[in-house]
Symmetry: C2
Subunit: 339 residues, 2 copies
């Protein structure tokens, strides 16, 4: 990260900050009234379950008390902290990259899934399945240095606009969850993102947007290789999957990166089931929470009938596990800062 | 981590703290006089290079200034923070585990490298090479849950004694480096361990001993698998190498876990060469430092002629890269707290 690069990075991040949730300070803490740490939450059972959990584990001398170093909370990203419909934001990024790189790859015009990506043929793209998606990711996320990829992500995230609200994707973050991140940190928690999304796709912007620094982001990854180029060290991104941080991979990723079991976990899909089990099926007070997308008007309504954020098993497991199920429609006063 | 387990863990950690560096508070910060942050360092060029680096990057408005979130420092462990001779402490642990488990494995009496390990035949063990060592590690570090392994490590580290000083291995940490960790943290640095050693062998005790929490430890790892056992989630440790955090693997591990390039790195062997390059060969002010084992009387003297902590290439590369080479004999007033 040379000086020029750092300058570019800082400028992009400053622009991100200015354009995104202005209610946040640089550290990502919500600037809320002292009295109410969760002002965008209705006074419902969901809100109460959060408040009583935090009150219990911070009460010194009580049997529920948890020392600060063990206050670990993990958050899924897509659909839990920001919008994941009509498709994952990282998939929009990959498709945009295919279009941007198409002129250098004339063969893509006749090769799937690239042809479908270039033509916006989502049906064929979906039919290409996981194998097709991996091919898209490798063609767009590998073959450059980590430094170059960071710049590509920052340039894209600061210029792309979503089709529905015509806003940067970093504005499509859920204000109640931003408040929750800040509330937990104010109570001694270390907050981590644990996402199926690409770790290097998230890290460039999670600190200004969520207050989560790069070393507290866990995600899927491809392999990298150290090499000296003209006497300068670089990490080259290889077209080879390293780790998929989804489903039963989430507890593995949590153990690898965090090395402690969380006492609170937040998700929205079946990909978060094992993380919720890992965090909550231990002794002592724990909090598991599922964001249920119930608001087709202000956001999207979906659970069992979608590929992006499929929620079925985790929803059925919630009552027996005492997990809090947040209804976005009923529990959240506001969803986005701009609404 | 059930309540019973937590209790056990806390008791062992409390004992560790009591027995180890008493100059440290719970957070691992050295309780030093306000005036001198590095009292165990002689007033040499090495000490000056540390002080002037920290002064420069914390001076607001100067061209060397580095914002707090980018103040990342990485430390090797074996030979940089604690003793690695006559052999790595984790190897002592593995040999002790082989002996403890031998009665359950009668076949080991006739199988190398186990036979050599049981008999203390270090020559045959060394001749078994990397393959032999991997076999030892897999037999002693895999096949149990992460929770069970943590307990095994804590029990061992709190009871084992080194043969020379007859003290717990956690007392064989270098006081000047403990002061340096605290000094950097007091100046806004986030301090990470980046070691070739096993990540799960270090994490149970790095917080009380070094003030480095589990999520700031990077190391070599084996694979784990999530599974439900009688309705309880467990991570099972598998006999399969996941990642070797050594040499060119260190920048890879740093990128995977930290996601930012360090501006300061501390090592003692050729296994730290690429980490030192990665941290220091960027624009702006950087600090690279090599601990040179020059004190055969108070500790050990070695560099080119040893398998444990072999130092040759990195030492030769130091002058051209402006890396500080610390002579333990000349630069350190005290090496251990107990001396």
């Amino acid at each position: 990260m040379g000086t020029h690069h750092d300058f570019h990075r800082r400028a992009v991040l400053a622009a991100l900050l200015a354009s995104t949730a202005g209610a946040m300070t640089l550290s990502g803490q919500p600037a809320v009234a002292q009295g109410d740490p969760l002002p965008s939450w209705n006074d419902s059972r969901s809100r109460q379950s959060i408040l009583s959990f935090v009150a219990a584990i911070t009460r010194e001398g009580s049997s529920d008390f948890v020392p600060v170093p063990q206050r670990i909370a993990t958050f899924d990203n897509d659909g839990t902290l920001w919008v994941e419909h009509p498709m994952y934001t990282q998939l929009v990024f990959a498709l945009d990259r295919v279009k941007a790189l198409a002129s250098q790859h004339p063969e893509w015009k006749d090769t799937q899934p690239f042809k479908a990506a270039i033509e916006g043929d989502m049906r064929t793209l979906a039919a290409s399945g996981e194998r097709g998606l991996v091919a898209l990711v490798m063609a767009t996320h590998a073959g450059m240095s980590t430094r170059e990829f960071e710049k590509i992500v920052l340039d894209w995230i600061s210029s792309a606009r979503d089709p529905r609200w015509k806003r940067p994707y970093t504005e499509l973050v859920y204000l109640p969850m931003i408040e929750l991140l800040g509330f937990l940190r104010a109570n001694g928690f270390k907050t981590f993102i644990v996402s199926g999304g690409g770790i290097e796709f998230m890290r460039p912007w999670t600190e200004p947007v969520y207050g989560v620094p790069p070393d507290q982001v866990v995600g899927s990854s491809i392999k990298t290789k150290f090499e000296m180029r003209d006497g300068k060290p670089e990490l080259l991104r290889l077209p080879e999957v390293d780790f998929i941080d989804d489903g039963a991979g989430k507890p593995v990723g949590i153990n690898e990166h965090i090395g402690q079991r969380p006492i609170a976990a937040f998700g929205n899909s079946d990909g978060d089931l094992e993380m919720l089990q890992w965090a909550t099926k231990g002794d002592g007070r724990r909090l598991g929470l599922i964001v249920h997308h119930t608001d087709g008007e202000r956001e999207y309504a979906y659970d069992r009938q979608t590929h992006f954020g499929h929620l079925e098993k985790a929803l059925e497991a919630a009552p027996a596990n005492d997990w809090t199920v947040v209804s976005m429609k009923d529990d959240w006063k506001r969803i986005f800062k701009f609404q």
